[in-house]
Every structure is written in structure tokens, then in C-alpha cells.
Amino acid sequence: MPYQAEISRDNPTCFLFVIDQSGSMDEITEAGRSKANFVADVLNKTLYTLVTSCSKSDGVRNYFDVGVLAYGGSDVASGFGGALSDGIVHPICAISEHTLRVEERKKKVDDGAGGIIELTTKFPIWFDPKSAGGTPMRAALDKTRETIADWCESHPGSYPPTILHVTDGQSTDGAPEEMAEGLRQISTKDGPALLFNLHVTTAGGGETVFPTSESALADDYSRMLFRMSSPLPAHLAKFASDKGYSITDGSRGLIFNGDPQCVVDFFEIGTRPKLVADR
């Protein structure tokens, strides 16, 4: 059975976020923010959650290696800035230590005695929104394949890498499908790498979420993204189902025409580490 490896400091897993930063990502959503801005916010929150889930009172435990690969115009490069910009994938300890900045935000929480109190919370930022130029998706997935192949070679016994690819448009440097196919053939002993695709839109409604067949999709582009997407492993399918999505055997990790809530859920489901359930 694939996707059973326990995630530990000796056998970490890898999350790689592949983010479209092409010009069209500056389109404004119904919520009044650009797609790039919204995706950056959700990505920062996801990184924060991943670091938090590895943090204990004595420090951050290296359960995950995490990378961000950003593409737009003619560039395919690390999406991190500062000290992390030299490489693509870094141990979660390094991610926690090298933020771009730490902002302060207010949040209201239960005080445990029936009341609500406002807490000031430190919120780290790693990734700022950018949007310019074309969509070199093929080159981005080729770089992803290379990165993941290196990682799997050095982590043969680990839970395989999960790649979360976020885009809003079609590739401008050729068909990306064969790159995705090659990527999904890279594996550890615990199974092949997982590629999940999220297509975001500014318009609400009309989304297709975790489909089981191409016939549910309207055009060639969305059907190609379906073929590029891995089936959801059982524990992620259950988590998606628990969040209210209709999941059946063979549901693929694809959201097409996703609205902002879909973006949030896509990141949360895709990065649901097994160790949260494994005590």
C-alpha cells in the first residue's frame, strides 16, 4: 500500500508549491483582491501552519522539507527571498528561521471561561505577490521534476513529495502534460510523487472539485489538467470528504475554476500531514 510511510525527523516528506506569477494573476477577484495577492496570503498561512505543526517548546522538528517554485515571464526560480532564495527546497527549520518579515495581527479567541479575548499574534511573511509576463508552465514543471527527482534520490524511504501547483491560465511555452507525467513517475519506496493542480479564477461559481473523470470537465485545457493530476490518497480523500467535498474512488487532486474558498481548502487538504493524525 503506497502512502503509508510514517513522517518523522529521520524520514521527512516534502511539500513543493509551484506558483504561477504571470501577468494575469493581477486580476481582481470578487473579494476585491488580486489572485496573486490572495494566493500569496494563503501560501504564507500554509507555511505558517506547516512550521507550527512541527514546533514544540524545545524547537522546530524537521518533519518536512518545503519549497516554493515561482514562474512568470521568462523566470522559473525559487519563490523565497533573502537567505532562502539560493535553493528551492529547504528543511522546515530553515524556513522557520528565515522570514522576509514578521507582521503583527489581531485575532479573537475563546478564553476558556465562556468569553472572547483579543490576542496579538506574530504572523511571518515569506512570499510576496508578483505578477508579470507569460506562463512558462512547461519549464516550471520541468524544474519541478528535476527538483523532486533529486529529493527522492536522497530520501528513498520517505512518504513521497506532494506538489501543489497553482495557476490561472494556459501554458505559454508549450504543452506541460509530458512534464507532469514524468513528474508523477518519480517515486520513493512509499509511492509516486503526488501532483495536485489548482486553477483559480476571478469569477465565483462554476468550479469543478476533485473530479473522477475527464467527462466532467468542459474543455481540452481542463481535461489536460485532470490527466496531469494524481488521484487523492485515501487519507487525503477522507479529509476532503470531511470538509464537505463529494469524493469518490478515483477522485483526482484537481480544482478547476476554484474560488477563494477552494484555494484555502486546496492548500489545507494538500498539505494535510499524516503525522497530525499519527500521535
Partner: protein, 246 residues
């Protein structure tokens, strides 16, 4: 139950209690406590939370001192935990983890009147087992090995994570009342999940897993037993704790 007096027999003999970490170089996040008043508690701290060992320690000590779980009891335990840290001075990643909370099971047992009443309280996947000789008479709160695969609901230092308790009748859903009366060779065992899964997976085997545990009378013997079962792949590698009243 106010007319029942604490167990005189338990006063004179504390149960055996052993605990071993998941690995030699790992911190054991299980905690147990035995009072001389016939109250025993154990807690399994969740490894992937901020400071589950301290949370587990607070839970078992408070339960042994006051075995009456209420919303106020839990709030007081959470308040004690929060005093351990100056939240505002923590770096962001520790502050975030602190806010998210520390998680632990709690299994408490109160033996009253030499076992005329045994009151078991449990949140999570640590289990109590009532035995008669080598036979299992009752288990609580889990009764099948497959139930250990599910994510247990645990007590948390973040009150928002304890809302599941609002949907429960604490005095009914989280409690089992047992008795030693009518049993020829009564015994009571309390254990964390790895040992609980091992025991329930072998309940019909020979030799009886109860008999195997009865032979374990020292910390060294417990460590040897757990290490052998782990090495044979029969027991999950996890912090493992046993309280045994033979």
C-alpha cells in the same frame, strides 16, 4: 457515591506502574500518577504538539488530587499550563504552536471500597481493562484494535479544541462504572494506546496477554517486554505506559 469511602486496600498497596519512551533518545511524553487514596491516572501527550509532556503531567496530578472532571476542572488545568510560558515573549513559531495547543489523553480510575466501585474516566485512546484471571471482562473506552487507527479526541490547552466536550454528557459518555465484586481473580489495568492495541489484538491468543503482563513485575522487565514486542513488529513504537492493580 458520596457514601463510599476510599479504598483501604489501595492505600496500603499502590499499583505497579511502568513507562518507556518510544526510543532511547526520545523524550517520553506519557505521564502517570498514583495517589494513596485509590486514584490513578495516566496521560499520553501527543508528540506533535507544543509541550504535551507538561500538559500530561498537569492532567494526571490534578486528576489524582481531584477526580471530578468538569468544565471548571479543565479550565483550571489549562490556566496552570498557561502559567508555564510567557506567551508574548515567545518567538513566532513557538507562539503559534503554543496557541495551537498541547494535546493529551486522560485516563483516570477511582477504586472505592476495595473495588466495590471502580469508576473509570477517559478522554482519548488510553484504555482501562477489567480482568478476571486471564479473561478480559470489560474495556473502556475502546474495545477493538481497529478503533486505535482513528484520530482520538484529546484534551487540549487551547479551549477551542475542546468543543467536542460540549456535545458529550461527561458523566455518561466518558465514564464507566465497574466492580471487582463477583470476580474470582480481579485485576485492573490502565495503559496507553500502543499497549492497548497490542492487548486487544491478542485477547484470544494463548498465552493470554493478561498472563503475559502479569509476569511483568519490574521496570526492567517492562522495558524488555516492550522492546521485544516492538522488535517483533507486534507493538507500535510509541511511548508506552502501564498501570496494573493485580
Amino acid at each position: 457515591m458520596a457514601n463510599l469511602r476510599p479504598d483501604a486496600r489501595a492505600k496500603s498497596r499502590l499499583p505497579l506502574a511502568f513507562s518507556i519512551a518510544k526510543a532511547d533518545d526520545k523524550h517520553n511524553e506519557d505521564r502517570f500518577h498514583r495517589s494513596t487514596k485509590g486514584v490513578y491516572a495516566l496521560s499520553d501527550g501527543a508528540s506533535v504538539s507544543f509541550d504535551s509532556a507538561s500538559w500530561a503531567r498537569i492532567l494526571v496530578r490534578r486528576y489524582a488530587q481531584k477526580p471530578e472532571f468538569t468544565r471548571e476542572w479543565l479550565a483550571a488545568a489549562i490556566a496552570e499550563f498557561h502559567k508555564l510560558y510567557d506567551r508574548d515573549s515567545l518567538p513566532w513559531m513557538k507562539q503559534a504552536s503554543f496557541d495551537r495547543g498541547s494535546f493529551a489523553s486522560l485516563l483516570g480510575v477511582r477504586v472505592v471500597d476495595s473495588g466495590r466501585l471502580i469508576q473509570v474516566f477517559s478522554v482519548g485512546d488510553s484504555i482501562a481493562v477489567l480482568c478476571d484471571g486471564d479473561r478480559i471482562k470489560a474495556t473502556f473506552p475502546l474495545s477493538a484494535p481497529s478503533e486505535f487507527g482513528r484520530s482520538p479526541q484529546l484534551l487540549c490547552t487551547n479551549p477551542a479544541q475542546n468543543v467536542f466536550l460540549d456535545k458529550l454528557d461527561v458523566g455518561y459518555d466518558l465514564v464507566a462504572d465497574w466492580t471487582f465484586r463477583g470476580l474470582e481473580q480481579p485485576a485492573l489495568l490502565c495503559m496507553t494506546d500502543a499497549l492497548g492495541h497490542w492487548l486487544l489484538s491478542r485477547r484470544d491468543e494463548e498465552p493470554s496477554p493478561i498472563n503475559v503482563l502479569r509476569e511483568v513485575r519490574s521496570a526492567n522487565a517492562f522495558a524488555r517486554f516492550v522492546q521485544e514486542e516492538r522488535a517483533a513488529g507486534r507493538m507500535k513504537r510509541d511511548d508506552t505506559t502501564l498501570i496494573a492493580l493485580w
